[in-house]
Amino acid sequence: MMQLTAFPVLLPLVAGFILLFARMGGLKLQRALNLLITIGLIFVSIEMLKVASTGAQEVYLSGNWAAPFGIVFVLDRLSALMVFMTAILALGSLWYAIATNYDAKGSHFHVLFQLQVFGLNGAFMTGDLFNLFVFFEVMLLASYGLLLHGGGRLRTKAGLHYVVINMIGATLFLFAVGALYGATGTMNIADMANKVADAPAEYRGLIAAAGLLLLVVFGIKAAMFPLYLWLPTAYANTSAPVAALFAIMTKVGIYSIIRAHGTLFGDDAGDLAFYYAPWVLGLGIITLALAALGVLAARGLREQVAYLVLASVATLLIGVGIATPAAVSATVYYMVHSTLIAGGMFLLADIIARGRCDTDDRFESSPIMANGVLIGSAFMFGAVAMTGMPPLSGFFGKMLILGAALEHQWLAAVFAVVLIASLLSIVAMARSGSLLFYRTQPSEQAPGEPLNKSAFVAVVALFATAPIMIIFAHPITAYTDLIAAQVFDAASYIDAVLSAPATERK
Amino acid sequence: MLEFILSLLILIGAFFTLVGSIGLYKLPDFYMRLHGPTKATTLGVGAILIASAVFFTVRGEGISLHELLVTVFLFITAPVSAHLMAKAALHIKTKRLERTQSSLSQE
């Protein structure tokens, strides 16, 4: 067994209490430690990618108890990628928070931050359904704190809605895992998949109901219609670094559907094989349609970006709902793109709002901002990436998903909605870009803040994803194909988990 | 014999528990109702606890006196809670039975 497998979970946990101790040492110490740990996390996740790239499915038996009795962490291609993505996004967000002094606007930013990563990585690594619930809650509580960090009227209201919806979600989660346990007698995903496959007919209605209930839970996180109402206000009203970090939150939902539903209701599940997929697809299509309208209807840039995030998640849902290896490969490709770009875009929106002073991010004309050409170019870049225009990776992700939809019987609906939604986003972003950067007034008011160059670095770094994903599209799609292949080979996942031996005691 | 004592204790306990609640149920004002639970219920539960102590002690797994601790605890806390509830009731001027006598200096 490889100890490395536990590191993405342990490192942020250790960071959590170290940073708590470091409270005494002041903000500078916490910043330095947090940066150090986050960079460390990137190295760890690169190592993990290396291990996973061999196709190995490393199973970590926490407490040295074999599955399904103990809780296992599973390192495979998909989880390694998720952890890697989280680390990158975390670094960008953290860097920005430090550069803009956001972390000083309240207590415990750094602790909450690392424990958020702990929750995220735990959710990505765990092979146990109830443990997933627990990590969801860790992730959520940390996110509550982060969301509210800095305070303010709208932020508090958004936070309240976010918390309540997620608490309802937690209840649903318990009902779902409870029913699944009641039907299968286990909590380990791999073991449960075996039990589902073997379940006699009279248990299947129960399992199907619990499975869909679980889908609703993940749907809340993944912002699936009609469960996404928490998202626009939460993303639009929290601070930029937090919004950026939250870009990964919706992906936890997507990931969980792929991992849990994909394994439990995979090819071997008999009449329940992929029974959830049409729902994901259909609701994804509706979400995308509504998201596109939301992008158009947004009153400010942050809200617009939030709806763009919604649109991107909806596109991912469509990919998941198509439920073929090609679609999952496309989904993963698009997920990496949309997560990191959305993160950068939230940061950029904040830079723009700061540069515009009084008008903030509202779509009103305002004086020319400092470094307008640079920021405008960045905006253009981000807009192109997020709306899925060529030549950036968003286009390729969308294209891959559409390509995967070609074999699906709902081809027409998918094409129509994806393409029209893209168009509406393009129209909306062209409008907002032209409002923000072109329709400037001669300056009488005090100009906004000058560009914070060091904060801008974070935007550039996250935006660099797009060209990288284009230039290295060949190896990256090859890797996402392998991810999809591994995801669809549920049998090998199940076998790896259930056959991992405990370490012999001397 | 032992079983008889046990039964007696249990019955006394249950009886007083019931009496306390009957008082709570039927007495006409809060201050009067307070007396039932404060005394009767406390004693009733105490009796049952002692029955339990006896039962588990004689069952042969060694003495079992920890129920006494609960009993003592109840006897310490019951009057304190009663005191606080009554103080609160007096403060918010909870209605009292009309014929209640009062020789209080401040009212």
Binding site: F133, L160, V163, V164, T171, L174 | -
Partner: protein, 117 residues
């Protein structure tokens, strides 16, 4: 007995749902608390009901209850506790920031009277 427990869970769920759908923070907190109760009891019941058979290893025991749901529920209770505590304080925060306790922060005449008091 199973029906009794199931009905109790159902009643708590109903009450929880109803209160969660109220417009003020306080009843919402109560509603979520009830929902958490019902979810916990549900999860617990998923190990099936046993009487007089605790999950404590004992040579004399006739049998054991299912310990796993118990452990899970314990975790769930703690988590719900943390969440509820957070929500309670968040309700205060909302009251402080929004000036009233409506979940959407709406101003109502009632609030203004409340604040004046």
């Amino acid at each position: 007995m199973e029906w009794l427990v199931a009905i109790v869970i159902g009643v708590m769920t109903s009450a929880g749902v109803y209160l969660t759908l109220r417009a003020r923070t306080f009843p919402v907190v109560l509603g979520l608390t009830l929902l958490a109760y019902s979810a916990n009891v549900f999860l617990f019941a998923m190990g099936r009901l046993t009487i007089g058979q605790p999950a404590v290893i004992d040579a004399a025991a006739a049998g054991y209850g299912d310990p796993l749901p118990q452990a899970l529920v314990l975790t769930a209770i703690v988590i719900a506790f943390g969440m509820t505590a957070f929500l309670i304080v968040l309700a205060l925060k909302a009251r402080s920031e929004l000036g009233n306790d409506h979940v959407d922060g709406l101003h109502r005449s009632h609030d203004e009277q409340e604040t004046k008091q």
